[in-house]
Every structure is written in C-alpha cells, then in structure tokens.
Amino acid sequence: MKKPDALQGSLDLLVLKILERRPRTHGYGIMTAVKDASDDLLRIEEGSLYPALYRMEEAGWIRAEWIKNDTGRRARVYELTAAGRKQLGLEESRWHAATAAINQVLRTV
C-alpha cells in the first residue's frame, strides 16, 4: 500500500494523527514522521501534502505558525486546533469501522 490515495481520506487521518502526537511539526517533518512510524511502508506523496495542509487549515482543523528552527531558518509549523482534535476522533473511528468491516468480510467469505 505505497499509495496513500488508495484509501480515501487516509491522508488527512495520518497528518492529523502525527500532529496530535507531535505538535508543531513542519511539512517535511510530517512526511518523515509518517515514513518512520510505518517503518517505511507508508509514504505521503509530497505533491499532495501541502494542498492537504492548506485545505485543513482552511477547514480550521489545524493552524500554522512561523518559528525559527535549530538551523536558524524560518519554518512553518502546524498544530491541531480543537476542531482538528474532534475531526481526528471522527476519522479514527471511521477508519476503525471501515477496517473492521473489511476484516469481517475477509473472515467470512
């Protein structure tokens, strides 16, 4: 499952989850975090990451801020808003429901 788009909506879920665990992460950090956490199994397509971030920012799930990072460069970091937390819960339960349903199908047939 290299392509995250294969499962609709999982990109938002991954980004939100990463930001919940590691608030104030910048775009590149989110990408590597997904890669590391999935032992290199999942990889966010870079071209889709930023549009997704902008979209979630517009939806009010995350907010962005400019900070100076260790190397002295400015970086744009993201964190969850209250609405984002709620959305994450929603997406998580939706994901669990979906996978449970799929597992059930796999077991019974």
Binding site: Y28, G47, Y50, P51, Y54, E57, E58, R63, R73, R76
Partner: protein, 882 residues
C-alpha cells in the same frame, strides 16, 4: 484561519505569496539535507505555481481578492482616460448631488417625524371648502371658542391641542428701545404634556397655565433660542420680557430636539393661548391650528365625526348674526368638510407651498441624473467594445463570464463611488443654499436637516442604483462575448451601436422634458415679473408703526412733515398696511342701497398724497383730502368700476358697507385710480376701495399703520436708522416695528417662481450640455467604427449628402423618436405643474416650440464634428491603412 486574517491577507497578497514560496523552499532544503537529489525532490513536490495558487486561495477570501484585483484594474482603466473619467465623475456627481440635495429638502420638510411621543398618532384638522365665489379653498385654522367646544366633545377619546402658526413678534427684555424679534407661538398649555416633552431647564407650561384669559403670563423658550440668545445661561429662568401690553415671565426651556410642529419655522417662545385675550373671545377669529391625538386604540373616524358635528353647529349658530351677506350664499353653510390628516411630520404653510415645486425639482434632478447615467453607460460601452478583443482573450484562456461582468461592474462602481462622494459634498452645500434662497433675510426659513440613516440609505441607494444603471448593460454584454467571433472582429458590430442609439433616444426624451418644464417656469417667472403692479415699488421704504397705548390719539401731520424734511426723502404718506404685505381686508358692499353683492372688495386705508407717493395713476376725480375722513369720501380702482359700473366713470356714485355697530356706512366715490396689485401678483386685479385714514387724529380702531416713504436713493434701507429715530423722537407714543422696502415685498411675491425658474434653468443647461456631449460622443464613435465602410462608399462615389445621411440617419431617427416621447411626457408633467404656472399653458403646443428649437439646435451642433469628420475621410489613405 480567521475571517479577519483572510480579509487582511487580501491586501498583502505579496507577503502571502512570499510565505508560500518560503515554505516550499524550506521543504526542498530539508529534502536535500536528508540526502535526496534536489531535482528529484522538486519533481516529487510538484510545481511551485500550483502550490502558490492553492495556498493563496486558502489564505484569502476569494471573492474579496478578485474584487480587489478588479478594483485596481478598473482604477487603472479609468486612469488611462483621465479626462473622460473626470468628466464622467463630475457629471454624475452633479446628478447625484442634486438628487441628494433634493432628498435632504424633502426629508427635512415632509419625512422627518416630529421629535415627540406618539407622532405616528398625531392628526391635524383641515377644512376643505369653497369661497363665496365658488372657488375651492383649503384652510387649517379655527377660532378658540369652537376649538374648546370640540375638545370638550371628544374628551376621553382624544386630546385636542391648539397651536397658533408661529409668527415673528416684537419683544423687549429690558427697555422699549431694545426691541428684538422672536418667533412666538401661542400653544395650548397641555401641549408639552401631550407630546411627552421634558424641560431642559425649569418647567414647561401646563393646563393650569392656560385656564384664565390673560392671567398667566408665563413663557417657555425653545432650546435653540436659549442657546443662541442666552448662551445657555441657567439664569434665564425668571427673566421677563414685554410683548404687546403684557409682561411675560420665562419659566422653562423646552426639550432640546423639539423645534415646533411647523417644518420651515422654529418657534423661539411658547406662551399659553389664553394670553391672546381678544383671540380667545372672538368666534370669528380663526387663528389656531388644531392637532388631534387620539388615545391608543381609539379609531379616528368617530372622533372626526364628533368634531365635525360640533363645528357645523357652531358655525350655523354664528351665521345667524350675519346680515351683510346675501342670503343665497348662506344656504347650506358651512359647506366645508372637516378632515383629519396625519401630522406626524408636522404641518406648515411651507409644506403646502413647496409640495408640488419640490416634486417637480425632484423629477428634474432625477432626469438629469438619468441623462448623466446614459452618458456614462455609452462611455463604458464604447470602452468595453474597444476592449472586446481583450475580453475575448480572457474568456479563451479560461476566465469566467461572471468574472468579466464583475470586472466591468467594478469599474462602474468606482465611477459611481467617486461621484457619490463628490455628490454628497455638493448636496451638503446645496440643500442649505436652496433654503437660504427661499427665505427672507429677516424671516429665514428654518429647517432641521436630519443627517439620519435615511439620508445615508438614500445616498447608498443612489450609488448602487447608478452603478447598475450604467454598468449592468455593458457588463452583461461583456459576459456574452463569443471569443471566436470577437477575435475575428465581431459578427454584429451594429448591435452595440443600436444599444447606444437607444440610450441616446431616452436621453433626448429626458432632456426635452427638462427643457420644456424649465421653459415653463422661466416664462412664468418672466410674466410675473413683467406684470404691471400699478405702482412704482422702487426706492420706497415702509415703516410699520404701532401705537404703544391703544387709547392714545396721535397727530400724524407734524410727523409726516418732519419725515419729509429728512434728506433723501421725496414724499411720504400713510397706509393701513403695506401693499403685497400679506394683510387684507375684504368686505362685501351694497351698491346704492341694493342687497350686498357676492364679490368682495379689498379695502385699504390711505392718507392724502398716498397715490402720488406710490405713483398710482389717477384716472378721474380727485385725490383724498384731509377733511374727507369725516365725509366718507373714497377712491376706487378700475376693477371696481368694471365690476359695478360697467367700466364707466364711477365718480359721484355711492355705496354702503356694514359698519361696526351694524348700521350701514355710506361711501362717496370722489376719484378712481388704476388697478394696483395689492393681495398678490398671481391673481387678477380685484375691486379695491381706498378709504381715508384719519391723519389728523388716528381713530381708535387703528392701532397700527404703515409709513410709506419715497426716497431718492437706490437702496432706501440705508435710511432705516434715521427715519426710525425721527419717528420715535417726534412721536414717543409710536413704536417702529418692521422696516422693509416695497421692493422686498414685491420680490417675496415671486420667491417660489424665482427659485423654480433659476434651478430649472440651471438643470436645463446642464441637461442640454450632457445630452449634447453624449450625442457627440456616440456619433464620433460610430463614425470611427465605420471609417472603412465610409471610405469605401466615398471611393465608390458617395456624395456629401449621402455620407451625412448614412452617418446620421439612424441616430436622428432615434433623437426624433426621443423628442416625441419627451413631448408626451412633458404634456403629462405640465398638467401636474399647471398650478405653479402663470401666463403660460403647459398644454399649449406652441409652448413646446421653443424648447424643441433649442434641442434641435443642440443636436445639430453636436452632430457637426462627426459629420465633418466623416465627409473628410480620404478613401485612399483609409484603404491603404487597412
């Protein structure tokens, strides 16, 4: 992201884009630092442009951002054609400003609710009847006795409030030498409580102050008067002033917002009605306006019926005592109907006088604005047609049609916005200017211009309305552009021109209406000013004098001698009151013992030498003499002779009037004079009788008289101080009240006509200019568009006449149609304004000739440059240029 941040981001889009770029670059750098190939990383991330677009959209409010872009673009477009843009803004500003000023006037006079409680429930009495001559006549004042009877009849259902129309009065605060003017109003004591007004200082009048005749000389002053006259000194309470024979004490200052119930006038001093002792007693003295305030939940119609019943009974009883009026005139008396009209916005003479004129002015300014809008619409249409290739290109590369329409509308909105701002400034200045020109220097019109929300709303409505009016058409057309055909040069170049021609037709129609109406008003004013008055008003000064003590007998002869001896004085005489000053005494007469006639004559007391002083022609007989006072000799005018003697010389005849004690007075005619305008200059000359004032000893019935002084100076008012001094020196028992020139009174007669004529003429000139400029523009544009076609035609042998025809035929047909439509509109409008006209008929086709001629000349003149240009097209150059 908050809405506010996104709004702010619209106006710093460069910074937003920078941030997106920065984030983009940071990502690449990190990727490179992690050991990736930069080109691979860039390829994986996608193009920057796409990120910028998506990121930008999230960070701003989309429609606002595009609006900002359109506004900037529109501004640049306008800036590119500075001259035409400025001309467009100015002409629109004039139209919008004039509309705004008219609305401010209408609002102040007719729409602004009185600042009192329950103004929506307030009604005023109006009497709708006919004169003895059968002409319709409307009035709104009643006597005190009938008012009190009506009040008692409807007690419990409605409160009735009586208010005298405010008038200027002489009052003195210290000595008689320091006489000053103030607007005084007798009001029911319970008015303040009924209107829910609170005192700003002291107390207000109450019902107890208005019970006993002449017993409670208390006064409340208005907040405005307190500020302007006393500088808001709290010590004003308890101060006294003298008015007439009474000494009044100020007990309070009224509510700040309360400026009376008469838009156009603001009373300074309120006193109880009971203080006008004579007015309270006299059943024939209609001096009070009656307001009705029904209790909540009470229907007004039954109240009106009860009041009417009381009124009829009262008047019928009163008519029984009338013996000098022909019996047949009294059949069915009183014939007038008592009506109640809503009075929440006040009741005033000015409202009645200016209802129709303001409506007409409103119509004129709206037409002017429409003409200006038409010009701007054509201007924008021409510009956007020049840009049709640009538009087509925009559509081809994916611009939405709505966006294109929005772009054109943004340009229109900038024009309208600028014009509205300039127009608001104009209206701010113009409305008070008009009010000043209506008023008299001594008796100014005082109006409250509320700058309230409705003025603001009207302004926004104008701005929006004009934008849509001239922007919607071109915007709609721009959104319909077919790129393929537009890029090829358009498949129907005529379509746009046809739209323009239609606008020109409408413009011509409006212009004709404005011209026609202004022609009517200018003619009316000219006819009125040229109307012979029958006397020479130039260089005449009028001193209105009052006796301090009614019983005192004044010997006028020495006083007249002393005035005549003053330098600059040529002649001097006395009259009961000034000609054209608003005072009248109309009486019915009996010819040689016959029963009284139904045509009343206008009576005026004069001294010997009056007709010479006024330069009135003596037709036959002799002037009055000092001894005539006892012999009851009188002069009559030509209209009198016409009425009663078939125009024959009436000298030696006699007639009677009903005297004071009911016995007939016999008058001998010793001379007749030319007709003199005495009441007003609009009506035909009416029969007049000039009877002798007692010059040796002014009879007790005369407590005031006017000194007429013919001077040798151009501006007789320079003699005011000297003559005032002379009168008061030589006769201490006399007080000089108003001093005015006869010319002022003559001019005051035509204030309304002058105002209408001036404003209408101004609007007509502007409208004509705008329409001419519009026509010139459209014609030039169409010639420019058809240059090639015309060149070909000339090359093929078209003659001058032919070229002229193809250039102008269509548009002239449109202009002619427009003018015809204008004629029809003008005829309708003229019927409405007929009451304002004098000596000119709106329905007369001949009166249309002059405005039509002017319009025709303007059309020819504005068409000339384009036609010349068309005929000078050189086919060789033209074709080579292709």
């Amino acid at each position: 992201m908050s809405v506010w941040t996104r709004i702010v981001n619209v106006f710093r889009s460069d910074r937003v884009n920078c941030e997106i770029a920065e984030e983009f670059e940071t990502h690449i750098e990190e990727a490179v630092a992690a050991g990736r190939n930069e080109r691979e990383a860039r390829r994986a991330l996608g193009t920057y442009v796409r990120h910028r677009k998506e990121g930008h959209q999230v960070r701003v409010i989309g429609w606002l951002d595009s609006l900002r872009a359109d506004a900037i673009f529109g501004w640049r477009q306008l800036w590119k054609h500075k001259t035409t843009s400025v001309a467009a803004v100015l002409s629109l500003a004039l139209g919008i400003g004039a509309c705004g000023a008219a609305f401010r006037l209408v609002n102040a006079l007719f729409l602004r609710p009185l600042p009192i409680q329950n103004s929506e429930r307030l009604y005023a009495v109006r009497l709708d009847g006919v004169t003895f001559q059968g002409k319709p006549f409307i009035w709104d004042t009643m006597s005190y006795p009938v008012f009190m009877k009506m009040r008692a009849a409807v007690a419990g259902q409605a409160e009735l409030i009586a208010m005298e129309p405010a008038h200027r009065n002489d009052i003195t605060f210290s000595s008689d030498a320091e006489m000053e003017k103030a607007y005084v109003q007798h009001v029911s004591g319970w008015m303040f409580a009924a209107f829910g007004l609170r005192p700003a200082l002291g107390r207000l009048l109450t019902e107890d102050d208005d019970r006993v005749q002449g017993a409670e000389p208390y006064a409340v002053i208005s907040y405005g008067y307190w500020s302007s006259r006393f500088g808001r000194d709290p010590g004003v309470i308890g101060k006294s002033f003298r008015m007439g024979d009474d000494l009044y004490r100020i007990v309070g200052v009224s509510d700040r917002g309360f400026t009376g119930t008469e838009p156009g006038k603001m009373p300074d001093v309120f006193v109880p009605t009971a203080m006008n002792v004579q007015g309270v007693r006299e059943a024939g003295d209609g001096w009070l306006r009656v307001f009705v305030l029904p209790r909540s939940g009470i229907a007004i119609e039954p109240v009106r019926q009860q009041m009417y019943a009381v009124y009829r009974a009262f008047e019928q009883e009163r008519a029984k005592a009338w013996t000098n009026i022909p019996k047949e005139l009294l059949i069915g008396y009183p014939r007038e109907k008592l009506l109640l009209r809503p009075a929440g916005t006040g009741v005033s003479q000015m409202q009645d006088d200016y209802r129709v004129p303001l409506t007409v002015l409103g119509l004129l300014v709206v037409l002017m604005l429409l003409i200006a809008c038409a010009n701007v619409a054509n201007l924008i249409a021409a510009r956007s047609s020049a840009r049709s290739r640009e538009m087509a290109l925009r559509i081809s590369i994916g611009s939405g049609r709505l966006r294109l329409a929005q772009m054109i509308l943004a340009e229109s909105a900038i024009l309208a916005g600028l014009a509205t701002v300039a127009g608001a400034l104009f209206a701010f200045w113009a409305a008070p200017f008009v009010v000043r020109s209506i008023g008299h220097a001594d008796d100014p019109v005082r109006l409250v211009f509320g700058g309230g929300w409705n003025v603001l709303a009207f302004g926004s409505f104008l701005a929006l309305g004009t934008t849509l009016l001239f922007g919607l058409g071109p915007a709609f057309r721009a959104s319909k552009i077919k790129p393929a055909s537009a890029l090829k040069g358009g498949d129907d170049p005529m379509a746009r021109r046809r739209g323009m021609y239609l606008v020109i037709g409408a413009q011509t129609a409006f212009c004709f209406v404005v011209l026609f109406l202004s022609f009517l008003f200018v003619t009316t004013f000219r006819r009125l000013s040229e109307r012979p008055l029958g006397f020479a008003p130039e260089r005449v000064l009028l001193l209105n004098t009052l006796k301090k003590d009614n019983k005192h007998v004044i010997d006028w002869q020495p006083l007249l001698e002393r005035i005549k001896a003053q330098p600059g004085v040529e002649l001097v005489a006395l009259e009961g009151w000034p000609l054209l000053g608003g005072m009248n005494d109309n009486e019915l007469i009996s010819m040689k013992g016959a029963p009284p006639t139904n045509v009343s004559s206008n009576f005026l007391g004069i001294s010997p030498g009056w007709i010479k002083t006024m330069k009135i022609a003596l037709l036959d007989g002799r002037d009055l003499q000092a001894e005539d006072a006892r012999a009851h000799a009188v002069l009559v005018n030509r209209a009198f002779a016409q009425q009663y003697f078939g125009g024959r010389d009436p000298v030696g005849q006699w007639f009677t009037t009903l005297g004071f004690n009911g016995t007939p007075d016999r008058h001998e005619i010793v001379g007749w004079v030319a007709d003199v305008a005495a009441k007003n200059v609009h009506e035909p000359m009416s029969p007049a009788v000039y009877l002798p004032l007692h010059t040796d000893a002014l009879g007790s019935s005369w407590d005031s008289a006017t000194l007429v002084v013919r001077t040798s100076v151009t501006d007789p008012s320079v003699l005011t101080a000297t003559l005032r001094h002379t009168v008061e020196q030589s006769e201490p028992e006399l007080r000089v009240g108003d001093v005015e020139t006869q010319m002022e009174l003559v001019r005051a007669q035509t204030i309304r006509e002058r105002l209408l004529a001036n404003l209408a003429a101004f609007f007509a000139v502007v409208a004509l200019l705008l329409a001419a400029v519009g026509l010139y523009g459209v014609l030039s544009y169409s010639v420019l568009q058809r240059e090639r076609e015309i060149g070909v035609r000339i090359a093929l042998g078209a003659r001058l006449g032919h070229v002229t025809r193809i250039v102008t035929a269509q548009i002239f047909a449109m202009v002619a149609t427009g003018a015809l439509a204008g004629c029809a509109l003008g005829l309708i409008a003229a019927r409405y304004v007929q009451s304002l006209l004098y000596g000119v008929k709106g329905s007369d086709p001949i009166t249309m000739a002059a405005p039509a001629l002017v319009l025709f000349a303007a059309v020819l003149l504005s068409a000339l440059p384009a036609v010349l240009r068309a005929t000078r097209i050189d086919p060789a150059t033209m074709l080579r240029a292709e």
